[in-house]
Amino acid sequence: MPPASGNRSFEALTFALSGEIFAVDAYMVREILDIIPVTEVPGAQDFVPGLINVRGRVVPLADLRVKFGMEVAAISPDTRIVVVEMELFGEATIVGLLADKVYEVAELTEAAIEDPPAIGMKWRPDFIKGVGKHGNDFIFIPAIEHIFAAG
């Protein structure tokens, strides 16, 4: 995250992973899907266990919870797939992200977002771009591209 510069705000989609709130820039979100049939890829890493069909495209389904060492909860009626598009290995790539629950598109001001604390984080610090506050809740902004590029 660039250092907080002024009060510019951006829209972010907030969703739950194992009880914590995460947010991704709404700019990269293509759509949000209810849970659909997932094809398991035998031999793939736990992080990208399967493939889904998004409007005729074969798209890998990723589970960020694996990268954050969270417990993988069973699929519930609230489970959603957030389809995001990003630049990965130099090409535009579409990926589905499993979310326990999707909340809303929230307005976040850049000033309110801080660098992740150096200590006291349970996750790899380079996987989190910043921490913001929304009401009384902390919102974690994952470094999506970095997480995927790290494989």
Binding site: P42, G43, N53, V58, P60
Partner: protein, 688 residues
């Protein structure tokens, strides 16, 4: 994309194509220096490169090309012979033009100046005796124009040794030409003077030569002949209009008669307005103009389309095929006859659309083969060998992507053949072979696949050396028995080269393994056959397309997978006895052959219990067979291949994925990899 409409980009593409044409013409010219058509092609290519180069600001290109064009203009006019030296310079100059187009820095100005100097020396040399092309100083080429030429000779001209036929032939050399003799002046036989010339000719000529060239044809007979020369334009049109324009009939008469609504020509003759010969001539003109317009329309009939759009089209057709499969599945459970009829209609249309789209993407393999003429010429020259390249099946069509990705592997193979396969002329003579070696490129369809072969008549692969090398590298246990085919397959192992010495051409041991990987990437296979002393043949079997394949849909546990049908040999049931013989080796006896099998349920770690009657799908790759144990064989499936993302690059068992009729994703098995794995699971041994 902007690239599609960027004129700069269009010039680059066009120039690349013209350079290919130029090179092909030059190489053919080497063998047939008298072929005027080839000279014309080379000249046209240079001319266009010069013209559009100047238009798009490639001044260096235009200037350099201009010199070369002038030389070829002289060749075209018969003033300069297309000698081997000139062609050699022209080929080098062609490369220089390519560099110049690539950027002013890519080209070496000194080399360019040297080439120009050599060209002007050649041009400056006394002109070769030409068979007097009486073409007047030829100006700028113009657009295609149709000319109407009517000429007749004085009655006594034949007596004076004037022959009209060469004149007509010369007109024919300018372009599409229709010649009609007007015989109305021929008297009855009794009055006929056999040496008098009674004939006149109407000639319709469509050409880009200027008027001066046409008049030049008649320059020596100008005093003895009547000559009318007019541009017809593209008008053509109705017969009456033509006759009126030619002054053979009066407009009002034609109008009156045309009102009668019979065939105009018949009426005009019957009414005595025009004579039969005039009418036939006018009809010939009508036909000629139509044909000329038709052939120009045909040239416009092909459209340059950015490859990206074709890819998008293919993607969309792929999705249509998937949606259609889904519709078919839904309709199968429905009783409404009308809906069924519509679904069938859509199936027919989408199949047609799929075939057409795939057809658009295919290009003849000749476009790829042609590049090898230069490679073989230059390389055999560098190596001091005398090699003749023959090609067959150039018209065989393959997917554009396959052709593009076939280039590098073929270059490797051809280089290997020239370097290691074909011997020096002296060595060949010693071995009782003709001094000239022969390299053959061929392509042919075989089912849904294309067979591409590279064959040379060189010394063949040295099996002893191959074996020694393989043992040295630990690929083979010294002294272990091995089939000839297996021994030959070792050339595809990374790092193995039988060349005793590393040359600049090949021999570093990088090559054949790269070839193998490239061919595997195309879902093709590669085989080697070699007879010591007689030559080597490398055969590539390639799929027609990379986009859609026929697949066999199978179920393993609760997952569904597609096996490319081209790899499937047969399906058998896994007998309980074979199934239970768990101890150590998994082998199946197929008509006496032992075939290893892989339990896909174990490979894929399926938690579900196996079906009571499992099936074995026998697949083959590179002449090795392996059985894949599945729970159920579901049936055939039109498979639109989608590649896996980089996130799944580490998963080796699958070559891609596809979308099934119900919208779920199924993985496509990488048979080559599974076969290699199945074979590796067992110690090397012979099946028989």
């Amino acid at each position: 994309m902007a690239a599609a409409t960027d004129p700069h980009q269009i010039f680059l593409e066009e120039a690349a194509e013209l350079l290919i044409q130029l090179e092909a013409a030059l190489l053919s010219l080497e063998a047939a220096p008298d072929d005027r058509e080839l000279i014309a092609t080379a000249f046209r290519a240079l001319h266009t490169i010069k013209g559009s180069g100047a238009m798009f600001g490639f001044d260096a290109v235009a200037e350099f090309t201009h010199q070369l064009e002038s030389a070829f203009d002289r060749v075209r006019n018969g003033q300069l012979a297309p000698s081997a030296e000139l062609i050699g310079i022209a080929l080098a100059a062609k490369d220089h033009i390519r560099d110049l187009i690539g950027g002013p820095d890519a080209a070496d100005p000194a080399a360019g100046a040297d080439l120009l100097c050599r060209v002007s020396q050649l041009v400056g040399a006394p002109a070769a005796p030409s068979q007097a092309a009486p073409v007047a100083a030829e100006g700028r080429r113009e657009a295609m124009v149709t000319w109407r030429i009517r000429f007749g000779l004085a009655a006594d001209s034949l007596e004076r040794g004037i022959n009209p036929l060469p004149l007509l032939d010369e007109l024919r050399s300018f372009g599409p030409c229709t010649v009609l003799a007007l015989t109305d002046a021929v008297p009855p036989l009794a009055e006929l003077d056999p040496v008098a010339c009674y004939l006149r000719w109407d000639v319709m000529l469509t050409t880009d030569h200027p008027r001066g060239d046409i008049e030049g044809v008649f320059i020596f007979v100008a005093d003895e002949c009547e000559l009318q020369l007019e541009a017809v334009g593209d008008a053509g049109g109705r017969l009456g209009d033509i006759l009126v324009r030619r002054g053979d009939a009066h407009p009002e008469t034609v109008e009156t008669i045309a009102a009668g609504r019979e065939r105009l020509g018949t009426l005009l003759v019957r009414e005595g307005v025009v004579g039969e010969p005039q009418l036939r001539s006018a009809l010939a003109e009508q036909k000629h103009v139509r044909e000329a317009a038709g052939s120009q329309a045909a040239a416009i009939g092909s459209v340059r389309v950015p490859a990206e759009r074709l890819d998008n089209l293919m993607d969309q057709v792929g999705e249509l095929v998937i949606a259609q499969a889904r519709l078919k599945q839904l309709v199968a459970a429905c009783d409404d006859g009308h809906i069924k009829a519509v679904a069938e209609e859509i199936e027919r249309l989408s199949n047609g659309l799929r075939d057409t789209t795939m057809g658009i993407r295919t290009v003849p393999i000749g476009s790829l083969f042609d590049r090898f003429r230069r490679l073989v010429r230059d390389l055999s020259h560098d190596l001091g060998k005398n090699v003749r390249l023959t090609m067959s099946g150039e018209e065989t069509e393959l997917d554009k992507t396959v052709i593009e990705r076939l280039n590098d592997p073929l270059v490797h193979i051809v280089r290997n053949s020239l370097d290691h396969g074909i011997e020096d002329p002296d060595a060949r003579e010693l071995a009782g072979k003709p001094r000239q070696g022969c390299l053959q490129l061929s392509a042919a369809h075989s089912g849904a696949q294309v067979l591409v072969k590279v064959r040379d008549d060189g010394r063949g692969l040295d099996r002893d050396r191959l074996r020694a090398k393989a043992e040295e590298m630990g690929l083979l246990v010294p002294g272990a028995p091995i089939t000839d085919a297996e021994l030959l397959q070792t050339i595809f192992h990374p790092g193995l080269s039988t060349a005793a010495q590393v040359t600049s051409v090949s021999g570093r041991g990088v090559g054949m393994d790269v070839v193998k990987r490239a061919v595997d990437g195309l879902r093709g296979s590669i085989e080697v056959a070699s007879v010591p002393g007689e030559g080597t043949e490398i055969a590539l079997t390639l799929p027609l397309t990379l986009a859609i394949i026929d697949g066999l849909l199978v179920r393993v546990g609760n997952g569904r997978y597609v096996i490319p049908l081209s790899a499937v040999e047969e399906c058998v049931e896994l007998s309980t006895a074979d199934d239970l013989r768990h101890t150590g080796r998994n082998f199946l006896s197929i008509r006496g052959d032992l075939v290893p099998f892989i339990r896909l349920r174990q490979t894929f770690r399926s938690p579900l219990p196996a079906d009571p009657y499992q099936k074995v799908v026998i697949v083959a790759a590179a002449e090795r067979r392996v059985g894949l144990v599945v729970d159920q064989v579901i049936g055939d499936h039109q498979t639109v291949i989608k590649s896996l993302s980089r996130l799944h690059a580490d998963v080796a068992n699958f070559s891609g994925a596809t979308i099934l009729g119900d919208g779920t994703v199924a993985l496509i098995l990488d048979v080559g990899h599974l076969v290699a794995e199945g074979q590796a699971a067992e110690p090397p041994r012979q099946a028989s």
